[in-house]
Symmetry: C2
Subunit: 158 residues, 2 copies
């Protein structure tokens, strides 16, 4: 129940301890609570956020800087799910929301583009692979053929 220490987080996320501290340093995760002595005490939320960071980094190829901006958006969004509706300058709200909508739309388009390019590359690799497996099959067939030849040869010797 007492939260995770940095080494636990490292094991679970696959990040190094250095990377985890670095990610905190540049604002990718909120600074965790500290124990009396100063040891960082992470929560499940930290781990989940780190996993999302890793996913964005690996899959999207975003720089950590870009991810940080994206995270800020997500934060604003989830935070405002309850916070925003409570009135307060409704015209500014609308403006903000429309801006978010546009950004999200752009991100989604980028994702679609990536997905389709990945598909294209997959098809290319699969074509390559077919040629390779065909080559293997042919060589193996030739191999078996030469074995038969050899057997016939030895049988004739008897």
């Amino acid at each position: 129940m007492s939260g995770y220490k940095i080494d636990d987080v490292a094991r679970e996320t696959g990040l190094t301890k250095r990377a985890i501290r670095y990610y905190e340093e540049i604002g990718l995760i909120p600074p965790p609570e500290r124990s009396g002595g100063g040891t960082r005490q992470y929560t499940r939320a930290h781990i989940e956020q780190l996993q999302r960071v890793i996913s964005a980094r690996d899959v999207l190829g975003f720089s950590l800087q870009e991810i940080q901006e994206y995270m800020a958006y997500a934060q604003e969004l989830t935070g405002h799910r309850e916070l925003y509706p409570q009135l307060r300058e409704p015209e500014r709200q609308l403006e903000k929301l429309r801006e978010m909508d546009g950004t999200l739309d752009a991100q989604l388009r980028k994702l679609d583009e990536k997905a389709s390019k990945i598909l294209a590359m997959k098809e290319e690799l699969e074509r390559f692979r077919k040629r390779v497996t065909a080559g293997i099959a042919r060589l193996e067939a030739e191999d078996r053929q030469s074995e038969y030849d050899n057997m016939e040869g030895t049988e004739n010797e008897k």
Copy 2:
């Protein structure tokens, strides 16, 4: 007909001239022919290869080093489509081909993983977006409501 100069290639690919020379330096493209004076003369093939490099870099997030390895494979494969079958140590051939098959399989797995992560991220963004559009709709409705209120108010004033 006389090929492209580096600035042409830069314009068409969006790379800088420095990057193009660097890509040649690390073996991502074959060194182009030179004019009498030493000016690089690129062909369409160079441009196309650079575009594939860019795609792999941006979309897959591969390092240039990884891309170089991949390119080498592709080169070997397309080159050997005609070259390999012509006999010459069939046992080494089989070994090579099996190795290629394994590598291609691993690459394909990586691509699948990326694709599924992209899908997951898309879904998350779409959920976000639904909340945003819902928020917009609600605010607009409230806006219209207050307009009606105002109109009623002014009508009463008549």
